[in-house]
């Protein structure tokens, strides 16, 4: 089992009894053949990690929900073409994380452009992310790609090589972004440990 598969199975939620313990390839094959139960098992296995990953990148719960939903919808639309020898999780996470990065970038662009007087709070997206936790606040201080790298490595358990493939960046870039991000997050984490 790959690291990605292990990671995707860390946060199972209410698996369907019929499909409990079935290998992912079998679930994908059954879903391709029309089994909604198999699809639901795939959904329950993967929703929470995908949703959490999106939230940690965009820091906006409504947007994270949309991004995770849209990623699943994209996966369903492409289900018939999916090669079931490949793990489902990385495929889904790749879509989710890249969408979350795109969303964060577009929000940053919009906030840089500025909203005309009188439209604040009306046309603008949420001006402040939801930061009830100091770790979230620290993550918010990183760029979207840095947050994505941290999430992929330390929440979803991908290797730097796998992350590089997902985000289409060299492994060295992944490592350097991880290192810089961890330098900023470490004091918080160590403080939490202490």
């Amino acid at each position: 089992m790959s690291a990605a598969e292990q990671a995707s199975e860390r946060l199972p939620a209410a698996p369907r009894a019929t499909w409990l313990g079935r290998r992912e390839g079998a679930l994908v094959r059954a879903a391709q053949n029309g089994s909604e139960d198999a699809l639901e098992e795939l959904f329950r296995r993967h929703w929470r990690p995908a949703h959490r990953a999106a939230y940690l990148i965009v820091h906006d719960s409504a947007a994270a929900e949309d991004i995770a939903q849209e990623s699943f919808l994209a996966a369903i639309r492409a289900l018939d073409r999916f090669d079931r020898r490949r793990p489902f999780g990385p495929w889904l996470h790749r879509i989710t994380v890249n969408r979350a990065i795109d969303f964060s970038r577009s929000r940053r662009i919009r906030s840089e452009v500025g909203i005309p007087p009188g439209l604040e709070g009306e046309a603008a997206p949420p001006a402040q992310p939801e930061l009830s936790d100091e770790l979230l606040a620290a993550l918010a201080g990183l760029g979207p790609e840095q947050r994505a790298v941290v999430v992929l490595r330390h929440l979803l358990g991908y290797t730097p090589s796998e992350i590089g493939e997902m985000l289409e960046m060299p492994r060295g870039t992944v490592n350097s972004r991880l290192r810089r991000a961890l330098d900023r997050l470490r004091p918080l984490v160590e403080e939490g440990e202490g």
């Binding site: 909604e36 929703w47 959490r52 939230y55 369903i76 330390h154 929440l155 961890l182 997050l185």
Partner: protein
């Protein structure tokens, strides 16, 4: 497990459980549609384009007259703005159909106008506005250009939301919860569907239907409606047979999240279908022929979408959004599955009755709280012409009257 990993796993995600259940509703509905629907491109979020910021009209609600003009000039990216005390020559060619408390009116582009009678909602016949269909309780009445009655049908229940087919050969309307269709000469009135939602039906323009052209036949008149469950149906208006149904876009939208489906429309080409929910806009490209060739989704979330109007040419959509006491008019442009939006106007109070000019260069909206009509040039250079004190111009008896609503803008046959 590292400390960081543990913290990332344990951070609370707001509404985690509820979000999962909402998502499953959407995903399972999409999966159910999968067998029937064509391959679709991913949902895309509307991104407010940088250009939006420079094309915004932000108006304070001020007394009528020149003061409004000053506000416009001071604040906005509109290059030219003026306020007129009454209806004069319209900034674009065509005739307006206006529903007032006294009844429908025709307004010519020289500013002259005449009332058609004492009726309720009205709609122009397509494509040139030779006739008007108007509601009168349980009656649907076809009127000539001076208000003479051409024919009348009496329906089982109160008539509303009449829509003339682009061909001019059919009129669809709601009678209570029924959807009915009558021929353009007043014959052949028949039930198409029962149990429909309170959403105006939308005809699909089929003039460019390549298949029909190839065989030299006009093909069926295609009508879209929304059923009580929020599902969209495309049917043959004469037989009621489903042309496309089941794979409803409504199934992809969570009613709790986006609100009910309010409005449906087709682009002039008949290839783009648009549905608007309270807080989402959905667009789908549907190819002609028995099997849809392609489809796409565009979604946005923000203020409540109160109206949607498709441009007479191309696929642009104008919407009115309402939130926090402000109404905003946006133009949404589609380009290969991407969408960008430009804010054309924002002002306090209610804006309604959004219509494109026949040439697609102007938008007209009624700003009820300012008692003005706003003619907004949709492309560059931006211009705004406000017509003042509109209500009293359509209230021959004087007194307190409802704000008149523009229901159509056509280029008449001369």
């Amino acid at each position: 497990m590292s400390a960081l990993e543990e913290r990332l796993r344990d951070l609370p995600v707001p509404e985690d459980d509820a979000a999962e259940e909402r998502a499953w509703l959407v995903i399972s509905a999409a999966y159910a549609d999968r067998a029937q629907a064509p391959a679709r491109r991913p949902v895309r979020r509307l991104v407010a384009a940088a250009a939006a910021a420079v094309a915004v009209a932000v108006l304070a609600l001020t007394p009528a007259g020149a003061e409004v003009v000053d506000v416009v000039r001071d604040v906005v990216g509109i290059e030219d703005a003026q306020t007129l005390p009454e209806l004069g020559p319209l900034p674009a060619a065509g005739e307006l159909l206006v529903d007032s408390e006294a009844g429908p009116w025709i307004v010519r582009d020289d500013g002259s106008k005449h009332q058609l009678g004492d009726y309720g909602q009205s709609t122009f016949s397509a494509p040139r506005g030779l006739f008007v269909a108007a509601t009168d309780g349980r009656r649907l009445v076809a009127l000539g250009p001076t208000g003479e009655v051409r024919w009348t049908v009496t329906a089982p229940a109160t008539v509303s939301d009449a829509r003339w087919a682009p061909s001019g050969f059919r009129v669809a309307y709601r009678s209570g919860d029924d959807l009915r269709v009558v021929s353009g000469d007043g014959t052949g009135d028949h039930l198409v569907a029962g149990g429909v939602a309170p959403v105006a039906p939308a005809w699909r323009p089929t003039a460019s239907l390549k298949l029909a052209a190839a065989v030299g036949e006009p093909g069926p008149e295609q009508l879209t409606y929304v059923d009580a469950g929020g599902r969209v149906h495309l049917v043959d208006a004469d037989t009621g047979e489903t042309i496309r149904g089941g794979a409803s876009p409504a199934a992809l939208f969570n009613r709790d999240r986006y609100g009910p489906l309010r409005q449906i429309a087709w682009s002039a080409s008949g290839e783009r279908f648009v549905g608007s929910w309270d807080r989402a806009l959905f667009a789908e490209v549907i190819g002609h022929g028995p099997n849809p060739s392609d489809a796409e989704y565009v979604a946005t979330r923000g203020d409540r979408i109160t109206e949607t109007a498709l441009a007479p040419r191309g696929d642009d959509v104008a919407v009115i959004e309402r939130g926090g006491g402000t109404s905003t008019i946006r133009r949404i442009e589609f380009n290969r599955g991407h969408a960008s939006d430009t804010t054309l106007f924002a002002g306090p109070g209610a804006v309604e009755g959004l219509k494109w000019s026949p040439d697609g260069r102007w938008l007209l909206a009624g700003w009820r709280d300012a008692d003005q009509w706003l003619f907004i040039r949709a492309d560059r250079p931006r211009r705004l012409v406000a017509i003042d004190e509109v209500t009293e111009q359509f209230a021959p008896e004087g007194g307190d009257a409802a704000f008149p609503r523009v229901s159509g803008w056509v280029l008449p046959q001369r």
